[in-house]
């Protein structure tokens, strides 16, 4: 028989997990809750005449395999050449990338691209700050060197800045290679739900942890908040929070045919490193404490939810079996036992949600998802959660020890289908 204190602890823990599960599902399904939201986030059907000029920043490090193709594709984008520029940002120690970029510019006769070589230390935030200073146009956007970008992205952004009262625009980013590794499908779905659904809620709440690319800023806004934080591991989410604090208005666009396409990490260790970096970045933002200046309790709650979610998941996974065991084998109060099953039921529901997501992803992107992909996703679900949990613990440990080095993800171009030229 459990003591009263133990029973209350169990009930409290189960309740917290249940609450987390509900919030999680609510955000995951936010767009589908009202299909008008999905329609609202689509790209405009007709484009306005080009008014805004764009500076596209391409911070690159060891990207010589993909940077040439990317430059070629971006230069061919549907927008007047004098209305946008491409800025490749490298450090001098990365001669391969510099050469590849310059070769591509020369071979493809690109007139609106530059390579800026800046002094070490390297780092994406620093590269972007330097690129920002050099930008000649009003709107600044960032792409990663391995991105497949929609050729209409600037037309879309131009039109949305025209039509809506927005300061920052986050375009959809989508991992594509759902069938390359065992964890790929789950990873792809995280992006799918993050950019297609959760982002809308964040934008409405006015608290947006921005993504790393396909984000459009007004140059003045970024300068106004002091640029990107070069010490932060997730400078993208960080600047999102700071722009939220500055009261900027966010727009969100997710359209299956205009998402920026990326690849999942190639190996488990690359995945863990990437995820550790994100989680650690979130922890950094939490301890920096800018969010304390938010005015509404709801916003503070949301920020803390977003930033702490990965660490929370680590605790959940570590303790979930315990809850079940306690619920099953100890003579707890029957209603507390039943409550301890709620998180499990919610997890099953979220798996169901993911399966529907996988189906819709396949439909939208016209990628055939076969029955064995669903099976593989199901089999991989728990191990994937363990990966997430491992990354969360690793981030906690590194944060605690003060290791703030950047562990970079390698890109091979697996998201670019063979026999298909880029774009």
């Amino acid at each position: 028989m459990l003591s009263d204190v133990q029973t209350w602890l169990l009930a409290g823990f189960a309740l917290a997990l249940t609450l987390h599960g509900f919030v999680n599902l609510y955000l995951t399904l936010y767009a589908w809750a009202d299909p008008a939201r999905i329609d609202h986030a689509r790209a405009p059907k007709t484009y306005r005449p080009p008014l805004f000029g764009f500076s596209i920043l391409l911070p690159s490090r060891h990207e010589h395999q993909v940077i040439g193709e990317t430059l070629k594709a971006l230069a061919a984008i549907n927008y007047p050449v004098h209305k946008f520029e491409l800025i490749v940002l490298c450090t001098p120690d990365d001669q391969d990338t510099i050469t590849a970029a310059r070769d591509s510019i020369a071979q493809n006769h690109i007139t609106n691209a530059r390579v800026i070589v800046f002094d070490p230390p390297s780092g994406k935030a620093r590269a972007m700050n330097i690129g920002l200073a050099a930008a000649r146009h009003e709107l600044v956007t960032i792409f990663d060197a391995e991105d497949d970008v929609s050729p209409d992205i600037l037309n879309i952004a131009n039109t949305l800045y025209h039509n809506q009262a927005i300061d920052i625009l986050q375009g959809g980013v989508q991992l594509m290679n759902f069938d390359s590794r065992w964890f790929s499908a789950a990873n792809v779905l995280e992006y799918f739900f993050w950019f297609k659904s959760r982002m809308h809620y964040y934008a409405r709440a006015g608290i947006v942890p921005l993504g790393g690319n396909t984000v459009f800023f007004r140059k003045a806004d970024v300068l106004g908040v002091g640029g990107w934080d070069e010490s932060c591991l997730t400078e993208d989410a960080d600047i999102g929070i700071r722009l939220s604090l500055a009261g900027k208005r966010f727009g969100v666009m997710y359209d299956a045919s205009h998402v920026t396409r990326e690849e999942t990490p190639a190996t488990v260790s690359a995945f863990i490193k990437q995820r550790t970096r994100w989680n650690q970045g979130f922890l950094q933002i939490t301890s920096k404490g800018d969010w304390r200046r938010l005015s509404y309790g709801k916003q503070i709650g949301l920020v803390l939810y977003i930033l702490q979610s990965p660490s929370f998941m680590a605790w959940v996974l570590a303790l979930a079996p315990l809850t079940l065991l306690l619920g099953l084998y100890l003579q707890a109060n029957i209603f507390v036992s039943l409550l301890s099953f709620m998180p499990l039921l919610l997890s099953i529901l979220s798996i169901l949600v993911s399966l529907v997501g996988l189906y819709e992803f396949g439909q939208e992107q016209q990628r055939p998802v076969r029955w064995y992909h669903y099976v593989r996703f199901l089999l991989a679900y728990l191990p994937y959660q363990l990966l997430l949990s491992a990354a969360a613990w690793r981030a906690l440990w590194r944060h605690h020890r003060g290791h703030h080095g950047w562990e970079k993800t390698a890109h091979l171009g697996a998201h670019r289908p063979p026999n298909r030229s880029v774009l």
Binding site: A33, D39, G327, I334, L338, L352
Partner: protein, 546 residues
């Protein structure tokens, strides 16, 4: 405030208020006097209060005979209305008041749902609520404290959420939650599932159709699963091991379900001996109109729903729900008379929808004229029902004898006495008064724990409180031990109440017991049938003692 004024200015608001007044009068007038308090009503009341006071799901061992949410709700109502010092006096009266509220809520929902399913016809909603509230068959069961009434309310609420015009995913989730509650109130709500699937598939925005359908199903499934989980956690899911004498060591959900699914011999529904046909006869005695009208309406509506499916895409929901439930009733196994309860609002909606849609199709230009015919038809039907079936529900008191017996026992029998009784006395004596050894005659016979309270020796039982219900059960041979008590010579009635009569007198029986005959009852039956001019069902009440 503005919205309130706007709401009050709408003629439709006053139409519904008018309907509620009619429904409230039809249901509420004499609702504590008719029909008599049935065993089941008291069972749910007592279980509900037991749950509130001790957290147990039954006053005896919970055997998984029904899902428990219905009486948990009833318990909550008893608690809200003041517990043992109830606002309405006895628990049973309080429960009947609760049923009035449930009925009125169901009326509002039925109006709205019928209107939506018929593409916005107020006339259909109006007709459905009138038939639902005025059918004597409906009144007979809807006044009683039955799980089926609660289940009907939850099903209608679920339907109301699922049929809301706006495209919001959470509407379907709420619909699922309420259907889950409906199933956990009375399990046969599960037969409506396919009708909901159709409705959601048809109604949901293509942008989240798959989501709506899957999550709806999941939530309903998960809520039902909780019931099984409860049994599993209590270690009462699977069949129990047996002791030396072959008795199971504890109750088990699976065994109860097997028992219930196996109840009654199979007979095709068209065979006269089938449970379906027998009940059809008793229902037809109370209200042949709703059955006949329902049959015509269902066939007509089905044809119309298929023929005019573009104009009325949701009529098929109603038809499917009706056919499914009919399939359940006519499945060939046991049917209990109160199984008709959820069918009454469905039939009412079917009749009204068919009539209105037919009118709209036949005379599309003469709608104003048709509306008058519609009102007149409703009025004639009401008069016809009243004139043929009588005003019994509004005039006859079937509970006065039951109440008189309660009063008499309270003044004459000590609280320590061992009483075996019709369950209607249980909530009052045990939960509101201090009687310690009152048990339901059926449980007294079969529950090992209850048998212990009288040392498993029927000679220790001091008093019996019998109603015609128990008498017919004992006659049918379901409780041999009770029969044994009755044929024992030294038992005699000390109080006898027959319909419309409240005189108390004492009879000494001569021992004449032979075999299966038991005279006490025969005498009681015979004397009750001598009551001149009575019209109500025989409700004889006996209190017997050694």
């Amino acid at each position: 405030m503005n919205r309130l004024i706007k709401f009050l200015k709408r003629p439709e608001t006053w139409l519904v208020v008018g309907l509620l007044v009619v429904a409230g009068l039809a249901h509420g007038w004499n609702m504590t006097g008719y029909p008599y308090i049935e065993n089941d009503e008291a069972t749910y009341i007592s279980r509900g209060w037991q749950f509130i006071t001790t957290g147990q799901l039954d006053v005896y061992t919970y055997r998984y005979d029904h899902a428990p949410l219905g009486w948990i709700t009833i318990g909550a109502w008893l608690w809200l209305t003041g517990g043992t010092d109830n606002l309405f006096g006895s628990f049973v009266t309080s429960g009947r008041v609760f049923m009035l509220i449930i009925h009125l809520s169901s009326c509002v929902l039925l109006y709205a749902v019928t209107k939506r399913l018929t593409h916005g016809s107020k006339a259909a909603g109006f007709g459905a609520v009138l038939i639902f509230s005025l059918s004597p068959l409906g009144i007979y069961f809807q006044r009683r404290i039955l799980l089926d009434n609660l289940m009907t309310f939850w099903v209608l609420l679920s339907l109301w959420w699922a049929s809301r015009p706006a495209h919001q995913l959470h509407h379907y989730i709420w619909s699922a939650v309420f259907l889950g509650i409906a199933v956990l109130t009375k399990l046969n709500a599960i037969f409506f599932l396919p009708a909901f699937w159709y409705l959601i598939w048809k109604k949901a925005d293509p942008g989240h159709r798959l989501h709506a359908l899957l999550y709806w199903t999941f939530v309903v499934g998960a809520m039902i699963l909780v019931f099984f989980l409860y049994a599993a956690l209590k270690g009462e899911l699977l069949p129990a091991p047996r002791d030396a004498s072959g008795q199971p060591l504890h109750v088990s959900m699976v065994e109860t379900f097997q028992l219930q699914l196996g109840r009654g011999d199979f007979a095709w529904p068209w065979q006269a001996r089938s449970s379906f046909r027998l009940n059809l006869n008793t229902w037809a005695l109370k209200d042949p109109f709703i059955l006949l009208g329902g049959a015509i309406g269902l066939i007509g509506l089905t044809a119309m729903a298929i023929w005019r499916r573009r104009r009325y895409p949701y009529l098929i929901v109603l038809a499917v729900a009706c056919w499914l439930y009919l399939l359940f009733l006519a499945r060939g196994k046991i049917v209990i008379d109160l199984y008709i309860v959820p069918y009454i609002p469905l039939l009412a909606a079917t009749i009204a929808s068919f009539w209105v849609v037919l009118g709209q199709e036949l005379w599309p230009r003469r709608w104003r004229w048709f509306r008058r015919v519609h009102l007149a038809a409703g009025f004639i039907l009401l008069l016809l029902t009243l004139s043929v079936l009588g005003a019994k529900p509004y005039t006859v008191s079937e509970t006065s004898n039951q109440q008189a017996a309660l009063d008499w026992v309270q003044t004459h029998i000590p609280t320590s006495a061992h009483i075996v009784a019709d369950n209607y006395v249980y909530p009052y004596f045990v939960q509101q008064r201090a009687y310690q050894h009152v048990s339901y005659f059926f449980t007294a016979e079969y529950d090992p724990e209850v048998r212990q309270t009288y040392d498993d020796d029927w000679r220790n039982i001091e008093y019996l409180i019998l109603t015609h219900e128990i008498v017919s059960q004992i006659k049918a041979g379901t409780t041999p031990k009770m029969k044994l008590i009755l044929i024992t010579p030294n038992w005699s009635p000390i109080l006898r109440l027959v319909p419309q009569v409240s005189s108390i007198y004492r009879i000494i029986f001569r021992p004449m017991a032979t075999g299966l005959k038991f005279i006490g009852l025969r005498v009681a039956m015979r004397s009750s049938s001598k009551i001149p001019g009575h019209i109500s069902k025989t409700i004889t009440l006996l209190v017997m003692a050694k």
